[in-house]
């Protein structure tokens, strides 16, 4: 009898947070992800063979920006996702090669999948390229040694005996919508460890997961800026992507100015 009691106690002690979070609806180990490949090639569809078409980017570009929909309901609210995308949007909006960046709500992409869905979105918004953000996040809640004090009841409120580890990876892939070719990609990662009391472990876990996305998106945005510069330098050399400008300037070049200058000089010399 005594042995059974001790065993039950030890079992319960080993998983306070797990037990509490299960009661409160949060699993101690959570993961959510969206797969770019699954979205673009659903139902095991095989990607088409490579073709020789060269993407032509007509700058300034109208860019679509969206999260790749998750296969399961996401714990991240749509409003938070839009706010995350808005931060990236603001970073690139002033660039001379960007006419506009349109945030496409995830709900627009959940009905249909694949490039056909992207084509519909492109026609709807008049987009030239699409930036798709896929993600993978794992969060693990574990008890620390100090969680032993949870058994004092008061300890569950005051002792930070729960550790929340959140690992987040986001990846942005930019596609030319006409040729369906990948232009560039940029990743961003975040690793967070927070501690919380037992009663706040669920809430703190959700906050950490949101912060993980925030940090990973910020890192991805920095990487994307670097990748864009590399992309611009690369396509100038290898001509794998052609750039055409939608704007044109009527400019008096050196020849016109030179002709006028020489004519003015000549005319003045003649006393004209």
């Amino acid at each position: 009898m005594r042995l059974s009691l001790i065993s039950a106690l030890l079992l319960a002690l080993s998983g306070c947070t797990a037990f509490w979070q299960t009661l409160s609806g949060d699993a101690p180990r959570q993961g959510e992800s969206s797969s770019l490949v699954d979205f673009l090639y659903p139902d095991g569809e095989t990607p088409p063979a490579a073709d020789d078409r060269v993407p032509v980017l007509n700058v300034p570009l109208r860019v679509g920006l969206a999260f790749v929909p998750s296969n399961r309901p996401s714990s991240l609210p749509e409003a938070t996702k839009v706010a995350l995308l808005e931060q990236a949007r603001q970073r690139f909006l002033g660039q001379d090669y960007v006419a506009d960046i349109v945030i496409v709500p995830e709900t627009y992409l959940t009905g249909r999948r694949g490039f056909d869905a992207l084509d519909q979105i492109a026609r709807l918004y008049g987009l030239d390229v699409m930036a798709l953000v896929s993600y993978d996040q794992v969060s693990i809640a574990e008890d620390r040694t100090s969680s032993l004090l949870y058994w004092t009841i008061v300890g569950a409120y005051v002792i930070k005996g729960t550790s929340n580890d959140v690992h987040t990876f986001v990846d942005t892939a930019v596609f030319d919508l006409k040729t369906r070719k990948l232009l560039l990609r940029a990743p961003g990662t975040s690793e967070l460890t927070t501690t919380s009391t037992l009663v706040r472990s669920g809430e703190q876990g959700r906050e950490a997961r949101t912060r993980g996305f925030d940090e990973a998106m910020a890192a991805m945005t920095d990487n994307l800026a670097v990748e864009l510069e590399r992309f611009r330098a690369r396509i100038k050399e290898d001509r794998s992507v052609l750039v055409a400008d939608r704007r044109g300037g009527g400019t008096a070049g050196w020849l016109l100015l030179g002709v006028l200058g020489v004519a003015a000089w000549w005319s003045r010399r003649r006393g004209g």
């Binding site: 044109g248 020849l255 100015l257």
Partner: protein, 201 residues
């Protein structure tokens, strides 16, 4: 002073154009609103066909065109005003319409150079005191330069540090429009010239 101004109508007119272009560049939002935009023109904003030539993308763009305008004004200051005005209007209109018909269309166009090319060609070939002995040769060089620019692609910046590439076909439209506008103006003026009146007598 007033007599001097009347003697040089082209110089006075072009100075007015320069002031208008500079003011439109300085006032915030004006250049954006009055630039040639395909969608707006197709929706009926016809005035953009004319106003776009007074708008510019950046200071270098504006400066290069105003320099050209100043040289033109000095070179052709003694020419008659009406055909010159008609040549400028013809250049502006034909350029705006020509841009609409291009197979790889632009969305936006700004700049005075199409009109400058038109005025220079009209100045070389139109009536008035010849600027240079080899004006036909100079006109041919000018046209050839523009055609080469179109052939090699209009995306170059013509050696200037511009934020937007120059659009070479616009210069051809400008030259064609100026010749057409100037020629029409001369045709309309001809019955009232003293020579014609003398012939009728």
């Amino acid at each position: 002073m007033a007599a001097d101004l009347r003697r040089h109508p082209v110089a006075v007119g072009l100075a007015g154009v320069a002031v208008a272009a500079a003011v439109m560049h300085i006032l915030p939002g004006v250049a954006d609103a009055l630039a040639w935009r395909r969608a707006a023109v197709l929706e009926g904003a016809w005035w953009l066909l004319l106003s776009a030539h007074l708008t510019h993308f950046d200071v270098v763009h504006l400066g290069a065109n105003l320099l050209g305008l100043g040289l033109l004004a000095w070179l052709f200051r003694g020419r008659r005003g009406w055909p010159w005005l008609a040549a400028g209007l013809g250049a502006a209109l034909v350029t705006g319409l020509g841009l609409l018909l291009e197979p790889a269309p632009l969305d936006e166009y700004r700049g005075l150079s199409a009109v400058l090319y038109g005025w220079l060609l009209w100045g070389l070939l139109g009536p008035g005191k010849p600027l240079l002995a080899g004006r036909w040769l100079l006109a041919a060089v000018l046209v050839a330069w523009v055609l080469i620019g179109i052939a090699v692609g209009g995306g170059q910046t013509l050696g200037l540090p511009l934020s937007v590439p120059a659009h070479a076909p616009a210069h051809l439209y400008g030259m064609l429009g100026a010749l057409a506008g100037g020629w029409i103006a001369l045709r309309l003026q001809r019955p009232t010239t003293p020579r014609r009146i003398g012939m009728l007598r």
